[in-house]
């Protein structure tokens, strides 16, 4: 090959390296935070050796100080310990709810996208109907029917996020289905099933990872809202939403009780979003 051709017909210059692009400060912070959260979820005792449920009635309502970095709550429980131990609930709720929402979304979206016009029409109308329900109402009904608690709140949040995912998945699936590499596979003599499994589904589902990362943050926020309404985790469980809800009562005298759990909800959602977007960017450029 001559040097001239290399000049004229050159491979995209920067793209292959963009995957190894230097992370921005925000991404680094988000990654460190995510690491902290995962560590807190897996090994809470490493970060906070205390008992999240251990009461100390006489040490209640302490503002943040050297022994209690985030202060203590109405029963003298250490808020830092509770926030760290609560990570697992929030993360599990966020991940599980998103997984449920995505799974339902994948089933509905795939049905709609793959099984012909009648099914598509039906599923679409069904989704339209679900969209007419405010998300919180779906969750409320579900919880009132099956009783409050972490598990039902998780499923409820999952269900109420499913229509959104289903719509995105269907659109993605239809877009992938129309891509010319799918046609190319047909030309190569591949069967419908082979095409579905080898090309359409993988290419539809790969971007969902990013979507899921973004969704986890929102799921945590919604689950916290349910806890606030008294429909989520049961006190004294060290779940952030429940802590926040309990702390709201004392907001005028003990701001730290609701500030720190709230801060962690926001930080978790933000770091999930920042990481999700950064992965998205890298995947798109890579």
């Amino acid at each position: 090959m001559s040097g001239l051709e290399v000049q004229a017909d050159r491979a995209p210059r920067s793209r292959p390296f963009s995957r190894h692009r230097r992370p921005r400060a925000a991404e680094t912070i988000a990654a460190v935070l995510a690491l902290f959260l995962v560590l807190a979820a897996v090994l809470p005792d490493f970060l906070a050796p205390g008992d999240p449920l251990g009461i100390d009635p006489l040490g209640a309502f302490q503002s943040p100080n050297f022994t209690h970095a985030f202060g203590t709550d109405e029963s003298g429980r250490d808020i830092y310990t509770r926030v760290v131990h609560g990570t697992q609930y929030s993360l599990v709720i966020g991940v599980a709810a998103t997984a449920i929402g995505l799974s339902l979304g994948i089933v509905l979206g795939t049905l709609a996208g793959m099984l012909g016009r009648i099914v598509d029409f039906t599923v679409n109308r069904f989704l339209e109907v679900l969209f007419a329900f405010p998300g919180l109402l779906l969750a409320l009904l579900f919880i009132v029917i099956f009783g409050p608690g972490v598990a039902t709140a998780t499923i409820a949040v999952g269900i109420s996020t499913a229509p959104g995912y289903a719509r995105i998945i269907r659109a993605q699936l239809i877009s992938v289905r129309g891509k010319s590499f799918v046609e190319a596979a047909t030309v190569l003599g591949r069967t419908r099933w082979q095409i579905l499994l080898r090309h359409i589904l993988p290419n539809t589902l790969a971007p969902l990872f990013v979507l899921a990362t973004l969704g986890i943050g929102q799921a945590i926020v919604w689950a916290a809202t349910l806890s606030y309404l008294g429909l989520g985790a049961e006190p004294p469980t060290a779940e952030w939403g429940a802590m926040l809800s309990a702390g709201r009562t004392y907001i005028t005298s003990a701001w730290w009780m609701s500030f720190f759990p709230g801060l962690f909800i926001v930080l978790t959602a933000v770091s999930a979003t920042v990481l999700g977007r950064s992965i998205d960017k890298r995947m798109r450029h890579a």
Binding site: M1, S2, L4, E5, Q7, A8, D9, R10, A11, P12, R15, P16, K179, S180, F181, E183, A184, A185, T186, V187, L188, G189, T191, R198, H199, P202, N203, A206, A286
Partner: protein, 560 residues
């Protein structure tokens, strides 16, 4: 066309000063550390009423040069020059406000594809009136009158009706005229036309070039930016060939094209396929081992005698438009392809050639008619029996990148095409991959890369390799070289020619580019509005077109 209107538009032009003078222009991008410059010391002058063409392949720096004249290279650009004059006035280091006062007034810009270059949400009349609003004190009524005059001047019929239309409601040619009208609304002494005809059909392209030429005749200097030597040769008085950020050759059009001095110019000139005989090489030998054969040119087989491998009879296909009406995309099309020959199908956009390709590939069922492959039922066969025949029909696509699963690397793509599970490795597969890569002149190193990491030419080579993997008898190529630079196009066309010879392939070659089709085809079918208006041996058809449309098409093909 309304000559008077154009003249009216051009009264202010002074012939004495050059429209633009550029000396030692250098541009580089980057915020923190200076990257290597994209434009490295470019100098040229355009006289009033002159048409200068800057020609180069993608990445040569021609568009950046043009934008430097507008001060629109973006915030990251660092532009330096010894001299940068527009209409005799220095524009280096102008403030934003001063630049704005000049843009549209001292120079206009026409870009490729007016569908996106005109705001799709606004009526074209508004877009044209904008530059009047910005630079004149005309009131709304006067502006509206002037817009009508301008539209008339650029040859848009029924201006009163058109002003209220969106760019999306116009045809490609009409849009481009509207865009030109917007650019010349202020009679700028200089008009920069950056690939103004690239996405247009060949007949429309000719009209737009005529319009630009006319504008130049009225005294407006035209700086034409293009990758296509043939296109610019029609109207440019002088050509500057850009390569790697520098002007490597410049001179009057006839001199540059007649006796190209620089290697790059020669390469580009020789790569133009039109009127190069079937089987002659367009690119310098890329396979030294084959160089012996490049001398022995000449068609491999002659149509009339060899057996028919693909036969399409009376194909029709219609689609339902969104408003419910029927659109007959393919109307009673019959084609035959004989072994070892190439059947070219040429047509402008909307002629039904891509639908025909999809029918021939049995991706969509025809409403009427039938296709047989090697005398076996093809479109009428069951899914299952057709899958058995699929191996004998391959395809090459215009958008090579889109035709690959983005998650797969080249090895996966080719392993899959060979009929193995992607990711599987065995000595046999490795050997087969090597053979395939050799055949399309690709290095082993591409195997681990994804399509996104390949150049346009490499991608199309991988596409060809994939089509060949199953050892097909027939390959249907739908615009396989349309999105490639001309020298790369030349290499790919040569490669297709090589593999056709090596394997005795039968090709259907679909293109809008008559020049390319002329170069590759044994038989030729000309499509228009879903029908075949004329078909027959390529040489005969080019020599004496029977149908008026064919003749028009031929006349419009840009030649050197």
């Amino acid at each position: 066309m309304n000559e008077a209107g154009l003249r009216a538009a051009s009264t202010a032009v002074s012939a004495a000063v050059p429209a633009a003078t550029v000396e030692n222009l250098r541009v580089h991008f980057g915020t923190t550390r200076p990257s290597s410059p994209v434009v490295r010391g470019v100098s040229f002058t355009i006289a009033a009423g002159e048409c200068l063409a800057i020609v180069g392949e993608s990445g040569s720096g021609k568009s950046v040069t043009a934008r430097s004249l507008l001060g629109l290279n973006g915030e990251n650009a660092h532009v330096t020059a010894d001299r940068l004059d527009l209409a005799g006035q220095n524009v280096l280091g102008l403030t934003d406000r001063a630049w704005r006062a000049r843009r549209g007034k001292d120079l206009g810009l026409v870009m490729q594809d007016a569908l996106v270059s005109l705001d799709p949400l606004r009526p074209i009349g508004r877009e044209i009136a904008d530059s009047l609003r910005l630079h004149t004190t005309l009131n709304a009524a006067a502006r509206a009158r002037r817009v009508l005059e301008l539209l008339d001047a650029v040859g848009l019929p029924n201006p009163q009706l058109q002003v209220r239309k969106l760019s999306g409601q116009l045809s490609g040619g009409e849009r481009q005229r509207a865009l030109i009208a917007a650019a010349i609304a202020q009679n700028p002494p200089l008009l920069i036309a950056d690939e103004p005809t690239t996405a247009l059909d060949v007949t429309v392209q000719a009209q737009i070039l005529n319009l630009l030429e006319q504008i130049a005749h009225q005294g407006t200097a035209v700086l034409l930016i293009s990758h296509d030597l043939a296109v610019v040769s029609r109207i440019a008085q002088r050509i500057a060939v850009m390569h790697d950020g520098q002007i490597v050759e410049t001179g009057p059009t006839t001199e540059v094209l007649g006796a190209p001095q620089h290697e790059q110019t020669q390469r580009m000139v020789s790569a133009v396929p039109a009127e190069k005989p079937r089987g002659s090489r367009l690119s310098p030998a890329s396979r030294p081992s084959d160089s012996s054969r490049t001398a022995a040119v000449g068609p491999l087989a002659h149509g009339a005698t060899s057996p028919i491998v693909l036969d399409a009879r009376s194909l029709s296909k219609s689609f339902r438009r969104p408003d419910g009406t029927k659109h007959l995309a393919v109307d009673n099309v019959s084609l035959t392809l004989r072994r070892g020959t190439t059947l070219g199908i040429v047509g402008e956009s909307g002629s039904g050639k891509t639908t025909t390709a999809r029918l021939l590939l049995a991706l969509i069922p025809p409403d009427r008619g039938e296709v047989t492959v090697c005398d076996k039922p093809w479109t009428t066969a069951t899914q299952k029996s057709r899958r058995g025949l699929r191996a004998s029909v391959g395809a090459i696509y215009q958008d090579a990148l889109g035709s690959f699963d983005p998650r797969w690397n080249v090895a996966d793509i080719l392993t899959d095409a060979l009929g193995n599970t992607p990711g599987r490795r065995s000595p046999q597969i490795t050997a087969a991959l090597s053979t395939l890569l050799d055949e399309v002149s690709l290095a082993r190193s591409v195997l681990q890369r994804r399509p996104l990491e390949l150049s346009g030419g490499q991608r199309q080579r991988v596409g060809i390799a994939r089509a060949l993997a199953a050892r097909p008898a027939i390959v249907i190529c739908d615009e396989p070289v349309s999105s490639l630079d001309v020298s790369v196009q030349a290499q790919v066309l040569d490669l297709l020619d090589d593999v056709q010879r090596d394997r005795g392939l039968s090709l259907i070659f679909i293109s809008h580019d008559l020049g390319v089709v002329q170069h590759v085809s044994d038989q030729l079918a000309v499509m228009r509005g879903g029908r075949i208006v004329e078909q027959g041996p390529a040489e005969a058809l080019f020599a004496s077109p029977q149908h008026a449309y064919t003749a028009r098409l031929l006349a419009a093909v840009p030649r050197l």
